[in-house]
Amino acid sequence: MFKDITLGQFFPGDSVIHKMDPRVKLVLTVLFIIMLFMAKNIYGLLVGIAFTIISYLLSRIPFSMILKSMKPIIPIVTFTAVLNVFFIRTGDLLWSWRFIKIYNDAVNTAVFMVVRIVCLIVGTSLLTYTTSPIDLTDAIERLLSPLKRIGAPVHELAMMMTIALRFIPTLIEETDKIMNAQKARGSELDTGTFKEKVRGMVPIFIPLFVSSFRRAEELATAMECRCYHGGEGRTRMKQMSTAPRDWFACVYVAVFWAGIIVMNMFFK
């Protein structure tokens, strides 16, 4: 039942965006989010939309994947849009029917918000689509490494993330095995009331926890055997290096930033 699970939503490829230094990609994504929130009017937002579309075309991610990334946010977006449309009561009255009154400010705010959220989600999923979870973890560790000086456990957190990523498939497989074992002993996992179903999970989670602790202990010993002694003095096999394309990407983001600032200044 859990076979072939994909971790994160990485979509392997060899586009320019895939090949970018993950550190640069991460920083630029943060800048992109700030950019979206800087836009004060619909024209500024159009610049943001253009940026998102161009980036997607460059990454050659199929359109269906983009739709998939939007799916989980559809309910929230519709809900907030509807609230905005019906409850903002400023500007000119556009349309009214009994107690429902719709004003132009309301429509503006709603459209603005929807576009902004969609751009935000679609744009940030581009990062997770084009960067493997392990590269992302590495990039986070390296970007945050200055914080080590003030005692933040950056290396430890990154190591925990790596190990978690490594063990997700293993534990999924194990859960599957335990479920089958419990079914073979006659436990009914899929039937009964909600309460019974929840109770049915207990004999699955207890063995899973016990075995996870055992795994953790064995892994810790194995890591010690391989001379692990924390992040101090550690080197990395894979070095992250910036190539000209990363600088192009920075320029590209800078241009769009400028675009939004200009739009903010010229249109009110």
């Binding site: 392990i134 391989r226 550690r234 080197t235 096999m237 894979k238």
Partner: protein, 282 residues
């Protein structure tokens, strides 16, 4: 020959979780010398202390009394800890629980990254180690997609990357299917023969032990027998009393001898057995 691993009258106990803790002495004065380049198989049933002993050679366990030295370095000496673990690498039973990274080559690089080796040197040694265990083609794979034997070979490569003089293997084949077992045994033997790596193999499989230069039997925290596979396995009754088996062919020959057939007592491989039986029948 130079002694590489040396355990001298080693005692070790675990404390149980009970209140008050109960002391459970696992090693009761074990003395064992392993020479450089030797292939030693350690036998003993569950709870005999063989894994505990292996962990003593790697400074995971520090003996209560007695000394353990690895290439002349005392395992009590904290300042030499990394050197000891670097020269005596350890491979465990469950391949899943010793692979740290999500990509094969990243995992093989793990030990070297810990030791602070230069990136180019890491790359070079990772490639060499993966080729040695014949897993180079899988270097970009995710570990959970490999078979048990392949995972275990990746784990061995992760140890080999440190270029250890000795590898301790704690039942590396126990969780593998017969094919994986053969793969791992081939790798171990090849390392011993071509690179002269000292091998200490803890195992439950008598057929694997029969391939070693020397067999050590541990029981109740003490070394009971120590000799060549032929010397050890020809003592079929002693082995049975210790709760251990002998290779299938040895058992066969032993039964035939009991029935009065004239066969040599020290047969441990199938080939020897076939030859002896053919000789008997002609």
């Amino acid at each position: 020959m130079q002694v590489f691993l040396n355990a001298d009258n080693v005692r070790f106990s675990y404390l149980s979780d009970d209140e008050p803790p109960v002391k459970n002495e696992v090693l009761k004065g074990v003395s064992l010398k392993v020479e450089k380049g030797e292939f030693v198989a350690v036998l003993g049933h569950n709870g005999s202390g063989k894994s505990t002993l292996a962990k003593c050679f790697n400074a995971i366990n520090i003996p209560e009394s007695g000394t353990v030295t690895v290439n002349g370095m005392d395992t009590k000496d904290d300042s030499r800890l990394l050197d000891i673990r670097k020269s005596a690498g350890m491979v465990f039973q469950n391949p899943d629980n010793q692979i740290v990274a999500t990509i094969v080559e990243e995992d093989v690089a793990f030990a070297l990254e810990n030791l602070g080796v230069e990136p180019e040197e890491i790359r070079k040694r990772v490639d060499v180690s993966l080729k040695l265990v014949d897993m180079y083609d899988y270097r970009m794979h995710a570990p959970h997609k490999l078979s048990g034997g392949q995972k275990q070979r990746v784990a061995i490569a992760g140890i080999l990357a440190m270029e250890p003089e000795c590898i301790l293997l704690d039942e590396p084949t126990a969780m593998l299917d017969p094919r994986g077992r053969t793969e791992v045994m081939e790798t171990i033997k090849q390392l011993n023969e071509t690179k002269g790596t000292t091998i200490v193999l803890i195992t439950h499989y008598m057929e694997e032990a029969a391939q070693a230069d020397r067999v050590v039997v541990i029981d109740g925290g003490e070394v009971m027998l120590d000799g060549t596979p032929k010397e050890i396995f020809s003592q079929v009754e002693t082995m049975k009393n210790l709760g251990l088996d002998v290779p299938q062919v040895t058992e066969l020959v032993w039964r035939l001898r009991k029935d009065g057939y004239d066969l040599p007592a020290d047969i441990i491989t199938e080939d020897e057995c076939v030859e002896a039986l053919a000789g008997l029948m002609s």
